[in-house]
């Protein structure tokens, strides 16, 4: 049951995200660019740092 509820929850989140994308993409292209851009900057900085950290740790080990 918990799995189904979680699935429905994330489905709703996805639907809201798609709806927002359509609305923002139509009228607020730059706002949409900010959302996507910020997420990308955060993800690249975080993932890049974590990956490099792991790589150096492996080399040291």
């Amino acid at each position: 049951m918990k799995q189904i509820l979680l699935f429905i929850f994330w489905l709703c989140v996805a639907m809201v995200a798609i709806a927002l994308t359509i609305v923002l993409g139509e009228r607020g292209a730059w706002y949409f660019a900010w959302v996507v851009g910020t997420v990308m900057i955060v993800l690249i900085a975080a993932a890049g740092t974590a990956i490099i950290d792991a790589r150096y740790e492996e080399e040291h080990d």
Binding site: A33, W34, T38, I41, V42, A45, G48, A50, I52, A54
Partner: protein, 527 residues
């Protein structure tokens, strides 16, 4: 008139001083909040304790900056009412809504979560604390959004109309207001400029630690996160700067002409003035160094459009002033008799240029009797101070590319883990801390001085917007601000330097109910 001019000049000086001062704190708050969220994300995902300490340390510096940013922002909201009461009356219906939402965002959303972020360590679970940090980042940037929506309206009035009954602008479409291309591009450009500011701030301080061999592991990791974060932000800020220039070009041709030092209309493909010495009195550049064919594609994103120069824009303003004068005379008739159908018809036929007629009112009380010389003088006023705008723009763009170049080098050496061998880079990094602040201030000068002589472009002249205070009052309040803000900056610098010298303190309490991975750094003892 002499006293009025002095009061306006003092009001402008006071607003410029408080805005530029406030804007020293804002970008760092915007960017550092997102950078903190990035650092904490790494902590939550990897479980490495060093990232928790990193987040905790930079959050302290964020808190100092945040407090002064809020304090200096408060005065500006009041300044609209105290020093710019005609402006507030004229566009309060439009300007008030985003400003009120900004207040709510800043004081309820942002401030609440800042408290939870700073004092929630050891009380909230890792996931919840991370959520709180993201809410701080979102709240900070959303409060900037509303201010920039309001500012976007001043740059390009949209979603409103003038009501001759109430003699003020009224909101006709809230969605047009918030989705204005000017507001959108301005927000994204400003927000990402904040990311860049925060990245250079963290890089500089981390380099300082590495040079002195202190907190090495924390500093190296902070440097790496900030370098990656800043490099992508620099690409974003330059792209959005180009977009903003493109949007500005059509919305405010006078600002564009000043930014580019264009006196004559430039036929395609026009050359870009890399360096020039504009002479506003003689309407020409005393000296210029051009890059051929570059300006047209930069500004129009094409190869065919011509770009209007100052001389043609002044001639165009003269036409608009003459066209706007009947609207202003009709408005005066309507004020006496609101039912005068003929006056209403005359007003509606000319209302698009009402703002231009208000420009000539500065020189001719009865605008219907304005002489050609007075109209020409008012038309010449429509051009902002060219040299200041021209050079501010070049400082902003030049420093943006300098930062990007520096970040490319920083990322390369950081990823190769050879930072400690590149002492020159570590020595340069602290000197890069002021660079984004200079770029931000220069950008703000381009935006605001470039809009002159208008508070609301094409609608309300600056000379008509100020309150009617006495000169003594303005000098008193300006002196008060200068003294108070000087004290603030001394406190800010003292606290920043103190906490930077102290460095990361004892480990903060770990968030409770840890359920994810949790690993201590192997170099814990070095910290």
């Amino acid at each position: 008139m002499q006293e009025l001019d002095t009061v306006i000049a003092l009001s402008r000086t006071q607003f410029a001083a408080t805005a530029l001062y406030h804007y020293l704190f804002v970008p760092l708050t915007l960017g550092l909040s997102v950078l903190l969220a990035t650092m904490e994300t790494i902590y939550v995902v990897t479980g490495r304790d060093i990232y928790r300490r990193m987040t905790h340390f930079w959050a302290k510096l964020f808190a100092i900056n945040f407090a002064l940013g809020v304090a200096t922002g408060l005065t500006m909201e009041f300044e609209f009412g105290t020093n710019w009461s005609t402006y507030s009356h004229f566009v309060g219906d439009i300007f008030g809504a985003p400003l009120a939402i900004e207040g709510l965002m800043a004081f309820f959303l942002e401030s609440t979560f800042v408290g939870l972020m700073l004092f929630g360590w050891g009380k909230l679970s890792r996931g919840k604390h991370l959520l709180v940090t993201y809410m701080v980042a979102l709240g900070s940037n959303l409060s900037a959004l509303w201010i920039l929506v309001a500012n976007g309206y001043m740059q390009k009035p949209i979603g409103s109309s003038f009501n001759p009954d109430t003699m003020r602008m009224e909101l006709t479409s809230f969605t047009d207001l918030i989705f204005s291309p000017e507001a959108q591009a301005k927000f994204v450009h400003t927000s990402i400029a904040g990311y860049l500011t925060a990245a250079l701030f963290v890089l500089g301080i981390s380099a300082f630690y590495m040079l002195r061999g202190r907190h090495l592991e924390l500093a190296k990791r902070s440097f790496r996160v900030a370098a990656l974060f800043g490099l992508f932000a620099s690409v974003g800020v330059i792209s959005l700067g180009d977009a903003l220039g493109f949007i500005n070009g059509s919305a405010q041709p006078t600002k564009l002409a000043a930014m580019e030092g264009l006196w004559e209309t430039a036929e395609a493909p026009a050359g870009f003035n890399l360096i020039a010495w504009p002479n506003q009195d003689e309407q020409r550049n005393d000296f210029e160094l051009q890059v051929p064919y570059l300006l047209t594609p930069l500004v129009t994103h094409g190869f065919e459009e011509s770009i209007p120069g100052v001389k043609d824009l002044v001639a165009d303003a003269e036409t608009k002033i003459r066209n706007g004068i009947p609207a202003l005379t009709a408005l005066r008739t309507l004020r006496e008799n609101p039912d005068d159908a003929q006056a209403l018809e005359q007003f509606e036929a000319h209302q698009d240029n009402l703002g231009y007629a208000l420009l000539v009112q500065r020189y001719a009380e009865d605008v219907s009797q304005a002489t050609d010389a007075q109209i020409a003088r008012a038309a010449a006023d429509t051009i902002p101070p060219v040299a200041t705008v021209f050079w501010s723009f070049r400082v902003m763009v030049g420093t943006a590319f300098l930062m990007m170049a520096f970040l490319i080098v920083s990322v390369i050496y950081s990823l190769r883990d050879t930072l400690l061998e590149k002492r020159w880079l570590l020595r340069v990094a602290p000197w890069m801390i002021p660079v984004p602040f200079i770029a931000n201030e220069a950008g703000w000068i381009v935006a605001e001085l470039g809009r002159q002589p208008w508070t609301v472009y094409g609608q309300l002249p600056t000379w008509l917007s100020a309150s009617t205070h006495s000169v003594e009052y303005m000098i008193f309040s300006l002196t008060g601000f200068v003294l108070l803000y000087t004290l603030f900056i001394i406190i800010e610098m003292f606290l920043m330097v103190k906490f930077i010298r102290l460095g990361p303190s004892e480990p903060a309490k770990a968030p409770v109910a840890d359920s994810g991975p949790h690993r201590h750094s192997s170099q814990w003892s070095e910290i």
